[in-house]
Symmetry: C2
Subunit: 387 residues, 2 copies
Amino acid sequence: MDAPAPFDPPERLLCGPGPTNVDPAALEAMRRPMLGHLDPALHEMLLELCALLRSAYRAEDAEVVLPLQATGTSGMETGIASLVEPGETVIVGVNGYFGRRIAEIARRHDADVVEVTADWGEHVPNACLLNALHEHRDARLLAVVHAETSTGVEHPLAELGAEMRDADTLLMADCVTSLGGVELEFDAWGIDYAYSCTQKCLGAPPGMSPIAFSAQAAERARSRSTPLGFNFDLDLLTAYWTERPATYHVTVPILHIYALHEVLRGLAEEGLENRWARQAEAGARLQERVGEMGLELLAEPEHQLAPLTAVRVPEGVDGKAVQAELLARGIEVGGGLGPQAPAMWRLGLMGPNANVETADRLADAFAEVLAAVGPRAAERPLAAATD
Amino acid sequence: MDAPAPFDPPERLLCGPGPTNVDPAALEAMRRPMLGHLDPALHEMLLELCALLRSAYRAEDAEVVLPLQATGTSGMETGIASLVEPGETVIVGVNGYFGRRIAEIARRHDADVVEVTADWGEHVPNACLLNALHEHRDARLLAVVHAETSTGVEHPLAELGAEMRDADTLLMADCVTSLGGVELEFDAWGIDYAYSCTQKCLGAPPGMSPIAFSAQAAERARSRSTPLGFNFDLDLLTAYWTERPATYHVTVPILHIYALHEVLRGLAEEGLENRWARQAEAGARLQERVGEMGLELLAEPEHQLAPLTAVRVPEGVDGKAVQAELLARGIEVGGGLGPQAPAMWRLGLMGPNANVETADRLADAFAEVLAAVGPRAAERPLAAATD
């Protein structure tokens, strides 16, 4: 075919559920000289990157911490594929799109799946999960979504980890929207396997999935009797990422690694708790502004995430038209994910966008567009919004 | 941990087996405004990217052509996982590291593997593969490495495809070092599944794996009775990449997609056959220069690849010391891959490095370092080099 014109994407302020705008320092890092994947100079840096990731996860005692060479869902599938053998039981907390996805992937891997559900916007009570565990003491894995990207709900993970401390069942947590964005304590909370992404609170481009295995989880992955896939095999990954001299596994995404190293460096400079505080402040401002517009949040207030705010679309308002008009003005926000989702907008403030100025810019534009596109929410009875 | 210094990689001329230096236009493209993975403006471009990829593979009749969201080995594993069910027979041509890897991955996926082997540096004769096919008429898949990155040997794939035209067995080809580098005709040669990477002859950074399924292979992937993994499921991939409106699957590596679009655009501008000619000219020059140094090539001359030249390390020369000294001078070349490899250097001229000037620069440096580090090859009897 004839060569098309160069791609000319419009400028966007990315305030949806991720990806967020990339940290300018990460973009700069991607212009540094390219090294080969077997270059000793790269191998030294990979160790540093893994150590930084360990800090970000608060996973100093974890057996393995490294980033996988594909986006977040590869971390989800690697956890299931590594820790569960066919016919074993997996308990999954499902209160949104990504809990459902965990259950689906577990079924694809021939697990016996027990779903513990809650409505979109609610959290799955730990008591219900623990009841399921009581009924299925042989369960290999109990999986929850720490930060449900489809609803903005945070799971009370510290409490769950404490309750499961003496169980043989491993605890897996989806931290795609929590790593670097809200408090997360891999060691202290007793998490066995966590996975995340790079394009949300970390502020790098999408392309990798940081994961962490506890000693117990790594032992389990290494003692399984059925073979693992090659690309995300724990032993092959560690032979390259953390054992020295490094053994070739796959050609890792070098420039993306530069970007990830740079944003983790920035996180260490800022301080993890300062970052959490900045995310909390930005989220609180946005949620306050949305409340002032007379709109209702989807999440239970006591489980509302800071980086992601889901807002119910009031009756009579065309949510998709609001999204499209915001996009036309250069601002991306998300809608509901999948056919089960209630009508909503998802507003994200992550990484470089996690600040009060961006919260205000987003809220201002949102109010303007809402006034232009739909009936004004403030004029409508609040009850209608909960239908 | 405390924040380390920014990563400061040294400049390298990447003349190993890949990654190659990134096309400057691709680096520039990665600085364009980031879009979300659900942005309609991105979705339009993805269709264009897939069409460009179709041209590069000469796969206008293929059912599916798209890039996977991880590096080349994900394309290898996706082929096996999609096309082969447990207990089915897979015939694999093994004459180097990557043929072995195909066989290993097929075993991990519970295939019954028949290896047809040749020594490193030789090609696997099609007659031997066809004999194996005659003995295993029920084989689901016959896999060969079109361009064996560990030896620089090209497989006579056109001839194999023609011979298999009436067989039910699917033909899979590893095109990691051939796509955009040497003649490759997906449709005309009757290939059913091909995979490649982005960091070699295409000149983009590592991070994706372009794949192509024939109608027969896609039908096979879609009618399998055992479930597939989620990340590389053909239906989920096509629902996002090629069906419109696009359905969310995973967050694709956006900036890498910009880079891939740009290098494919450059390939279309240059013309595929012109690119092959440029690669051939650069490879021929390097091979001539290496011959003038009295060194022996690993590959049979009639099956020598243009983009990759493997050179036997003469007896008495420390191959690793030569590599290290070249690296100290800013030039990366490869060594033998894995414990089975004979002592060799692997010299690559790919993508932006595929030109006579770079061939000469590499040959000059190589000759200098060889003279400085080891006994001069020209002073040694040639016979010694074949031990």
